[in-house]
């Protein structure tokens, strides 16, 4: 390329005066401009084709519902709250309500210092203040009781070296806490065998209740709780924070618009594979008969001599627990009940066993539950294992399409669909590609995502973490409860929903333990 006499040596060849721009220069200078024209034409044409496909797809699936944006917490007098139970869940609930343990704050700051990608601390500090004050705490393990009081005084969300506010009173028994005149509402995070008893006592005293799931441990107390809550008119919220999940709202709308066609099968799952997920929780080193009020722990349960395993890992025994049915099936059931308004199943069959965790537990670690809903003409299948992590989604199957629900929502047409037959034949719908996909936080709301976006989103690498903002659903669920107390209305997971959840879980347990199919008698309101 070193030919000095090249035709492209501009000064010598383009025109006689090397410093003026001649006709030839103008033509050569603009030589590639037509390519930009071709580009623009191709781009506009592609957009037109894309838009035409999108608008045709919008006719197939168009979901317009927006998540109910909760009003900001009211100013004025704070709601005076008490907390019963400060174990793993109690700590999480207090955090979600705006009161973190100082040591937890230390951990988050440290985690961020070690790994800048960890923005838990930052997002936590941005969590809205709910305008509540914690006036009483109760835990029958003295260490937890002290921690609860300290946490409740952490009004500024500080670490261990921070300045704390006034500590609330530590109550020895839950009844004393419920009797306190300076408490309007209670958060119950005690073991399952205490839920309904405590909630009933709270309701009797006119205290509003946020109760962890499941709603009850035994069948009769479920009825009594419903009666008491309704009589006293308190605001009751059951702790299924999934109620605040945006994709469930979209799923509900899609089903109401008959996008799936006739729904006939629902498959939901639990897949865990670690000791913590199987309820083998740590035993606190300071725990012993003198720091734990064992008699109060036993409460309505059959007597058993003092046992640290039973105290900390109570979920493993039917004596205190409701097993997978109450702990995890209920979350899945409530999610579907929220989307489909299933109500109580007509019948339930169940089987399972203790196949992996041979640690003396009495509740199964592998469980299958099949609920039949004759009115809706569909089966609800729950399948759980605590010893394999293979991910299985939450799937609603219809004749025309199926829907997979997580934080996201993906709807795919069925190749044999009647509703979409023509569109599939025309090639407009590809059964292998979603006809609708929703990712929370996505700005473009028409439900279409590129392949790359879908890959990233399915791995949680899109939108949800954007700007480090991820709102805790438990926080929203507590906030909804508090807003309802202020407004004098009932929240999303109210006592009616709680009743349906409780009875469904009890039917599953009964079917498992009695090794038979059980039925619901809607007239007599009885499990038979």
């Amino acid at each position: 390329m070193k030919n000095d006499n090249s035709k492209n040596d501009i000064p010598a060849s383009s025109n006689t005066n090397p410093h003026t721009i001649g006709r030839r220069d103008i033509i050569k200078g603009l030589a590639t401009v037509p390519v930009l024209g071709a580009f623009s034409y191709a781009w506009l044409k592609k957009n037109k084709i894309d838009e035409s496909i999108r608008s045709q797809m919008r006719e197939v699936v168009s979901l317009t519902s927006q998540p109910v944006e909760l009003a900001p917490a009211a100013s004025g007098d704070p709601i005076r709250v008490g907390i019963i139970g400060f174990g793993i869940r109690g700590k999480q609930l207090m955090r979600a309500a705006g009161f973190p343990e100082p040591s937890w704050i230390d951990e988050q700051i440290k985690a961020h210092a070690e790994n800048k990608q960890n923005t838990n601390y930052e997002s936590y500090m941005e969590q809205e203040q709910l305008n509540i004050v914690v006036n009483g705490v109760c835990d029958i393990f003295s260490v937890y009781s002290r921690e609860a009081a300290l946490t409740a005084s952490n009004v500024n969300r500080e670490g261990t070296s921070g300045k704390m506010g006034k500590e609330p009173k530590q109550y020895k028994t839950y009844t004393e806490l419920l009797d306190a005149p300076d408490i309007d509402a209670v958060i119950i995070a005690a073991p399952d065998h205490w839920h309904a008893t405590m909630a009933i006592e709270a309701a009797k005293r006119g205290k509003h209740v946020y109760c962890e799931k499941p709603v009850s441990w035994m069948v009769p107390e479920t009825f009594e709780l419903v009666k008491t809550v309704k009589e006293k008119g308190i605001v009751f919220q059951l702790g299924h924070q999934g109620r605040q999940t945006e994709s469930y709202t979209k799923a509900r709308e899609a089903i109401q618009k008959n996008v799936l066609g006739k729904i006939n099968l629902i498959e939901v799952c639990t897949n865990r594979n670690d000791p913590n997920g199987a309820w083998v929780y740590d035993i606190h080193p300071e725990a012993n008969p003198s720091t734990i009020d064992w008699a109060q722990f036993i409460g309505p349960a059959p007597f058993h001599e003092f046992s640290l395993e039973r105290f900390f890992r109570w979920r493993c025994w039917w004596d205190y627990s409701t097993g997978l049915n109450g702990d995890l099936l209920t979350h899945e059931y409530d999610a579907i009940n929220q989307i489909l308004e299933l109500g109580i199943p007509g019948s339930v069959a169940s089987s399972g066993g203790i196949y992996f965790f041979k640690d003396g537990r009495t509740v199964p670690d592998v469980l299958q539950v099949v609920m039949e809903f004759p009115k809706q003409e569909l089966s609800f299948l729950y399948s759980a294992t605590l010893a394999s992590n293979r991910s299985r989604g939450k799937v609603i199957m219809g004749h025309d399409a199926n829907m997979e629900i997580s934080d996201r929502l993906v709807i795919k047409a069925d190749p044999e669909s009647t509703q979409y037959k023509t569109k599939i034949e025309e090639g407009l719908i590809d059964p292998n590609t979603p006809i609708y996909s929703f990712t929370p936080g996505k700005k473009g709301a028409d439900g279409f995502a590129t392949a790359t976006e879908q890959y990233f989103a399915s791995r949680g690498l899109l939108y949800t973490y954007r700007n480090g903002k991820r709102v805790d659903t438990t926080h929203l669920h507590i906030k909804e409860w508090l807003n309802c107390i202020r407004a004098g209305i009932q929240p999303s997971c109210n006592i009616d929903k709680a009743f349906e959840e409780g009875i469904s879980a009890h039917m599953s347990t009964k079917a498992l333990l009695e090794n038979r199919k059980v039925f619901w008698d809607p007239d007599k309101l009885e499990i038979v």
């Binding site: 390329m1 090249s6 501009i10 090397p18 580009f39 781009w43 990233f456 690498l461």
Partner: protein
């Protein structure tokens, strides 16, 4: 040793203030018609490719570099992850990618500031290569359209772009033709 002198003196001389034609003269580069045609075509194709990548991102309100940065693996992944962790850096990276790609594309396609465009094109491509190096042990979330080992499309693009940097054509068939003349006039 001449080659080193060349690199030292001129390789990085991408600035617009120096007319391309002088760069070409000093380096005694002159093309035959076939050479010109091929170089201009390569430049226009690279321009199209970059412009489209930019326009697609600008047109998508949800596009973000975040997922791509987070998906980074290899020896310098830490830097890209740190970028993703900072919301402001992500916003800046988004902006630089969207408009950077589009402007580089226009520069190459129209032959305007074409060496500057090629230089920044190389810069972006080097970032892409380093963030997703095709090493034997690494797999990515991002779907790949082929199988690569060390050498991938991005690395080849870097060198295609380097060809455009050292064999400029904007002053022959492109708007740089006016610039080079006007600047030389002064």
């Amino acid at each position: 040793m001449r080659i080193f002198a060349y690199f030292r003196k001129d390789f990085f001389r991408f600035d617009v203030y120096k007319p391309i034609i002088m760069f070409q003269k000093e380096n005694k580069i002159n093309y035959t018609n076939v050479q010109t045609f091929i170089l201009v075509t390569l430049r226009v194709l690279m321009g199209w490719y970059f412009l489209y990548e930019g326009i697609v991102k600008i047109a998508n309100p949800d596009w973000s570099s975040f997922g791509y940065l987070m998906d980074s693996k290899g020896p310098v992944a830490g830097m890209f992850h740190a970028m993703a962790a900072n919301a402001n850096v992500v916003v800046a990276a988004d902006w630089l990618n969207m408009w950077g790609l589009a402007l580089i594309g226009i520069g190459l396609m129209l032959g305007i500031f074409s060496r500057l465009a090629a230089f920044f094109g190389i810069l972006l491509l080097v970032f892409y290569y380093l963030s997703h190096p095709p090493l034997a042990s690494l797999t990515y979330v991002m779907p790949q359209e082929g199988t690569y080992l060390i050498v991938n499309k991005t690395l080849i693009e870097i060198f295609a772009m380097a060809v455009l940097l050292v064999f400029p054509t904007g002053h022959i068939a492109g708007l740089d033709r006016y610039f080079s003349k006007m600047i030389k006039k002064k």
